[in-house]
Subunit: 136 residues, 6 copies
């Protein structure tokens, strides 16, 4: 049986939900106040889980210090204290919903974590709203 | 791979654990202080997860505002500031344990959420006790 | 300068807000759903702070184990898994608002804690509503 | 002795720290990444405390439902899902630091709460950074 | 469909990460400050989940009071306010990483919980680091 | 009126409560399991509050980045992943109770924060036990 080892980090970012193929009226109807043209923001909490067998020499599935460093280097430096729509390459043509942010983080980190490990992302946009990818 | 999108809501309710087929002595032996005849109560936290594919137009698996409205309309208006045993139709013949409350909430919401989505309920009765349905 | 030492405990209780000098209509107008005749309930969290000088021999202002025991004996055994209106002597003629519950707990514990210490009670009725007595 | 009664609410907003009398270099030196020109954002939590004597008829210092409504009407509708710098009148010439946001909220609510009550604002900008006004 | 019922408990313990087959230099290189020779410590939170069908007579998957008692008797009395390396039999030859602590707790409790139930352990070493066993 | 600005940090440490002027029996009678000879440990959370007037140019009472750096340099590097009794100079002759740890942190930081500011320390030893210095 495998063990999941998880690390929580956070970033503070501005964003706006917006589909450029729709007019402002439709964006406002679908996304409500989340589509405010001047943006709003969140304290995002991201929990990254790496699933595998503990190494017999260390007792670690994955070194949490290393996982924290990978998240910092590849995610936080790009997203923390940024405008997700304007300051990142990832959401130029992709709506920065919690779902899409989680999928983007998964794709970024997947390149830096050996494929022998499963990878899961849980993202809290607020204390009440969160997403998990993949769901199972 | 699918995404789980989750919304947390809460309700404050009174309840009493009690099996009408048992006498008071047996109810007290099995349920302890949870069977206090004059009821006790909890701040219940319910986390509803909807699992599916993000919609390509919105980036949402499910609109969290709509999910919140569905929970409010179909669950909170029935359970919040109520006595679960006396004020609801669901626990007239069903013991209002956390397990049964979660199953009842799942059955209520299942009727209002398209079957293309999986549905999960996590219910905290206290900070230390919670249940999840279905478990997998 | 003095140190405040605080211990958090909790109890789960049913209650109803109700002024017996008012008719049902007025109770409902003033207290809303908190006046539901069949009660509702909460997971109350109570934080008891004792303020004084650390003892030079122990380094304690007050032994937290002893404080926990005092709260358990004099408060939790009376309030936990009870109906505050029906099962306690304190709220027979006193409305069990958070304010009044905090004052009652302060009066109970004041008798068991040496007057050389200041005593403060913070009571969370929900995660969003709390009271503190005395305020300063 | 008085009782403090507190209500927690939240709003999600974008902001940027910036002193218009300084050039970009100095703003960046003083405010670091908090001065990102395209803004960043937070889930702000605001705890409003009203301090006074419990009313003998209700047992309330202040009706928490009414306090929640006042915060919603006078603060949340102005700040929630907004850009504090661009979308509000309060921070056109005032840097939206946590300190200044708390003082602004205090001044707004002070006009709607009877002067017989003391008023305090605690504002969490992140889980790790918060301010309280007035401090005593 | 089955229900998962979970109970959270905690213990406060000292530990040191150390592989006796490595010299001090290598232990320090791999485990960093977690290998401090004089130990450090944590407030561990352990969430034990029992998965099964609710009993039709009680509405319980598993009595949370009984689960709490089992955790206390078989885990907390051995680990709480102890040095995991020096005061327990489990980590004499096993590095007390979060992964290994979770596996040890699973093996201990597995002997006391009927095999008709699935069993899962989630262990928080800090608010930011946690493990889950089994992962699925 | 002044503003309090607060920063939360944490450290993980081992400690043992022990009065060298008492024999083991008395230490055990007074401190119970907290006097375990091989130590136990905690995730300490420390909240440092600086009280003063917001600077008109920055809107800050105190730069939270600078406060975090001061806490890290003068407190965390000395206490984090250490044995408070054996690895620090502060508790060679002082019992490392929460009260004494808070007073020591206050004395350390007082030297690095201008006397025009008031300084307060709140220290959580566990989620349930905390101290505040000074109390007022």
């Amino acid at each position: 049986m495998k063990v999941a080892a998880s690390r929580k980090e956070h970033f503070n970012a501005a964003h706006r939900l917006y589909n450029p193929q729709w007019n402002d009226e439709k964006n406002s109807a679908v996304f409500g106040k989340c589509s405010n043209p001047n943006f709003h923001g969140h304290n995002y909490e991201v929990i990254v889980s790496v699933i595998g067998e503990p190494d017999p020499d260390t007792g670690y599935v994955f070194d949490m210090k290393l996982l924290s460093d990978l998240i910092t280097e590849h995610v936080l430096t790009k997203f923390d204290h940024k405008n997700l729509n304007l300051d990142t390459i990832y959401f130029q043509n992709l709506n920065p919903t919690a779902e899409n942010i989680a999928i983007v983080i998964w794709r970024i980190l997947r390149q830096h974590i050996d494929s022998k490990y499963e990878l899961k992302i849980k993202l809290y946009e607020t204390e009440r709203n969160c997403v998990e990818y993949p769901a199972h």
